[in-house]
């Protein structure tokens, strides 16, 4: 720390190491200390689940915070001894189908709300906000009773089927997401679709050829949000899907640790990581938007 020679006049203004440390601690040091605490709190469950997934013994009692060994036994158990692939496929089916159709239905409605003026538009928009306050699962009793009779007439749409639950999920397609999209549609200049119409485009052509390509970011975000929510949905799925082979991965994991809490923990951990993978990937995509937002504000001190 010493080796350079300095003008003796300037040394008077140099701070001692202690002062500099005190200044650093006041400005940045506490921030680092605080962040260490929060980061530890944030990371330890994730670390635990990863180490439990690799733990060769595969029990809850033998799982440590830090990995004690690396083995694929738990993963092999999960793939071999449970209908894991079926569960995962079910989860992905619901999440992908719901996300895709919701984006389409929402975008159609948002286009009408953003670009057209018609009777009932205001009522419709306010209505969407109001309905938003009543999540679908509050009507679970009615949905259950409805689908027990639908299942009697059309077993293909009843319980333990993919289509029945998907229909219910799609009932929530028009929601706050439609508002989000409508806001984004509003930012696309009207001149664009007007000029297309001058050139003879129909409303459908304007929607599919002009609008949709311009609003892809909001379509992606809504799709990803719906995807995450569907993967994590438990209440409706638990009422609709009772049969082991019809379950989603979330329900399957719940069943796995409900019966054999200690012994199955290794398998559960592998499944938990697998269930988180789509969400983690979503964050990988969103990361760019998050970082952009952060850096654009941080350029100026």
């Amino acid at each position: 720390m010493t080796a350079y020679t300095v003008d003796p006049a300037a040394t008077r203004y140099r701070r001692t190491a202690a002062t500099r440390f005190a200044l650093w601690a006041a400005r940045l040091g506490w921030r680092h200390a605080f962040m260490w605490v929060v980061a530890a709190f944030a990371v330890f469950p994730v670390l635990f689940v990863v180490s439990a997934a690799l733990n060769p013994l595969g029990t809850l009692s033998s799982a440590r915070l830090w990995p004690t060994g690396a083995s694929a036994d738990n993963a092999l158990d999960l793939f071999g001894n449970t209908p894991f692939t079926t569960w995962y496929a079910n989860s992905l089916f619901f999440a992908l189908a719901n996300a895709a159709v919701t984006v389409l239905l929402s975008a159609l409605a948002a286009y009408a709300f953003s670009r057209m003026r018609f009777r009932g538009r205001r009522v419709g928009l306010v209505g969407l906000l109001v309905i938003q306050m009543f999540p679908q699962f509050l009507a679970i009793v009615a949905l259950y009773l409805m689908f027990s009779s639908i299942g009697e007439y059309r077993p293909e749409l009843g319980f333990d089927t993919r289509w029945g639950l998907l229909l219910v999920y799609l009932g929530g397609a028009l929601s706050i997401n439609t508002w989000l999209m409508k806001g984004f549609f509003d930012t696309v200049p009207k001149e664009l679709d007007e000029s297309a119409q001058m050139d003879g485009a129909t409303h459908a052509q304007v929607f599919f050829r002009i609008m949709l390509p311009l609003v892809t970011p909001v379509l992606a975000i809504v799709g990803l949000l719906v995807f995450i929510n569907t993967v994590n949905e438990f209440l409706l799925a638990s009422v609709f899907l009772r049969d082991t082979d019809a379950k989603t991965l979330g329900l399957g994991l719940y069943q796995l640790v409900a019966s054999q809490r200690n012994a199955n923990f290794g398998m559960f951990s592998v499944g938990a990581i697998m269930l988180s993978l789509p969400t983690l990937m979503v964050f990988w995509f969103l990361q760019r938007y998050i970082t952009e937002g952060l850096t654009s504000g941080a350029v100026k001190g």
Binding site: Y111, M116, V141, M146, G151, L174, N232, G250, L253, T279
Partner: protein, 537 residues
């Protein structure tokens, strides 16, 4: 957004005037491909509609048929007319919304004023038919039928149907409602029906799997008689021991002589000693379900206890998540901090994991014997066994899952607040805390308060947060239906789906009360939010 007022922009000025269509300036021309796609989609939709209503037609469910036909007609009208452009875009989503969100809410409301529960699911006629046919016993001169067990629905769950052949070779179908002739059945040499249009014949294995159901199944044939199965391939017609008499509105048991009188308020037949027949019917009980939750001492205490904890939970989680998230955002809100990007990734990590799996993980970490938390701290606490430690654990896990989102939002909001403002305040003599409290925070709250309201509303009904951790428990010994960490929604779920007898009426009444509470909260918050202003843009 000034251009939004007029919809005439599509036509160049001076162009021949076309009568304005709703939806405005769009030209109604269509290309050939679009036509083909449109016809294809409408055809597909019609096919789906026919497929869906076929069983309704077979069952003679005319109201359902009329509704389905109405929907198909509406779709045709909207997509073939040129005057309904906005509706073309709104209809698909709205149909789903009405069918699977609005109708269920209305149906919940109508269920909430009934006593609907296990044993009270059907109407009185069906209950009487079921009482009579279940008491059928064989008489010496009983008529024998050759039996085939079938169903109109799914082989594993669909309602059972008897396909019967009488000694003269006539064929019938019999279900819970009665016996009907079946003219078009395939009959084999021994007189047994092997197939009939609209029915799936069950294999012996499938029948065996449902033998308990078969035992209870009987076809009423009127005058207190009914057809029951004896074994897998024969059925007999016998007379009912219990018979209904409309003049006294009662059921008489001819073996014991007991008279069970109908109680139309409670929806069941009650004997002289207050014992009742298990098959009851659904009756309208008015606001009894609500009254029970509000005034009955035991239920009111659990209901209001749950309501208080429900609000406290939502407030505590929202508040803590906000404080932690904002603190992290403030700590990172400084230029030139080493490791900022890494910190950010680490603290956002909980949000990027699947919340469902993470709840289950936290539940196991709180496990008494094997859980990580007890092992790391060297404790032996039964976290979910005591009311207060369970509540603390639930809140802790939810803060872990919820603060990263608040951190992201707060970071964005902080960047929108110019740093000069708090610097200017400090130059004017304000302390750091004062500058934050009186300058930065009020500006932050403008952006954050809608998010806080939304977070509150979300946590108010956060089913997963409680069910996956504690299932609402611990349940106390004196009250086995309401647990210490129960939210209203988990309580509802338990009443409807997790008790020995499902109590749909009560559960629906609880749902309606949640609707009311949520409405009150949202009216207050909507008044304050500016969201409604956007409608006119």
């Amino acid at each position: 957004m000034a251009a939004s007022e007029h919809d005439s922009a599509g036509a160049p000025s001076g162009a021949p005037a076309r009568p304005p269509l709703p939806g405005g300036r769009f030209a109604p021309g269509t290309s050939l491909t679009a036509h083909v796609v449109k016809i294809g989609l409408l055809g597909l939709f019609t096919a789906l509609g026919v497929w869906a209503v076929l069983p309704l037609y077979l069952a003679g469910h005319w109201l359902g048929l009329a509704v389905a036909a109405g929907v198909v007609a509406l779709v045709y009208h909207v997509y073939l007319s040129k005057r309904t452009v906005p509706a073309k875009y709104l209809l698909p989503g709205v149909l789903f919304l009405v069918a699977f969100q609005i109708l269920p809410v209305l149906y919940t409301m109508s269920t909430s004023v009934t006593n609907m529960s296990d044993g009270h699911r059907v109407d009185k006629q069906q209950a009487i038919a079921s009482i009579e046919s279940l008491s059928v016993t064989r008489t010496p001169d009983a008529e024998e039928y050759t039996l085939t067990v079938a169903t109109a629905g799914d082989p594993e769950t669909g309602a059972l149907v008897f396909l019967l052949t009488d000694p003269e070779g006539r064929t019938y179908t019999g279900d819970e409602e009665g016996l009907d002739p079946l003219p078009t059945a395939t009959v084999n040499a021994s007189g047994r029906i092997t197939g009939a249009f609209g029915y799936t014949v069950l294999t012996p294995a499938q029948v065996n799997a449902r033998s308990a159901e078969l035992e209870e199944f009987a076809v009423p044939t009127g005058d207190g008689a009914g057809i029951r199965s004896s074994g897998l391939s024969t059925a007999f017609e016998g007379t009912a021991v219990r018979s209904y008499d409309a003049s006294c509105d009662c059921v008489t048991d001819s073996e014991t002589g007991t008279v069970y009188t109908a109680d139309d308020e409670r929806g069941a037949f009650y004997g002289p000693e207050g014992d009742r027949l298990p098959q009851g019917w659904k009756v309208n009980v008015g606001f009894d379900n609500f009254a029970r939750f509000l005034f009955d001492p035991t239920f009111a205490s659990s209901f209001f206890g749950i309501l208080v904890w429900n609000i406290a939970f939502a407030v505590a989680v929202t508040g803590l998540v906000f404080v932690v998230g904002l603190a992290v955002a403030m700590a990172l809100h400084v230029p030139r901090m080493r490791g900022k990007a890494l910190y950010r990734i680490l603290v956002v990590l909980p949000y990027a994991m699947s919340s469902l799996a993470m709840y289950l993980l936290w539940r196991d970490m709180f496990n008494t014997d094997f859980g990580l938390i007890n092992r790391m701290l060297g404790l032996q606490i039964d976290w979910f066994g005591d009311a207060w430690s369970a509540r603390a654990a639930v809140i802790l896990a939810n803060v872990w899952l919820g603060y990263p989102y608040m951190f992201l939002v707060a970071t964005g909001a902080l960047q929108a607040v110019p740093r000069e403002l708090s610097q200017a305040a400090q130059i004017d003599g304000a302390g750091r805390w004062q500058a934050f409290r009186h300058v930065t925070l009020p500006l932050l709250m403008v952006a954050m308060s809608p998010i806080l309201v939304a977070t509150f509303a979300f946590n108010f009904n956060n089913f997963n947060a409680v069910w996956l951790l504690t299932r609402g428990g611990p349940l106390s010994s004196e009250n086995s239906t309401a647990g210490a960490t129960d939210l209203l929604i988990t309580y509802t779920y338990r009443l409807a789906f997790n008790e020995a007898t499902a109590q749909y009426g009560y559960a629906a009444a609880l749902s309606v009360m949640i609707f009311v509470i949520v409405s009150l909260i949202s009216v207050v918050s909507l008044r304050r939010s500016k969201a409604l202003m956007e409608v006119d843009r």
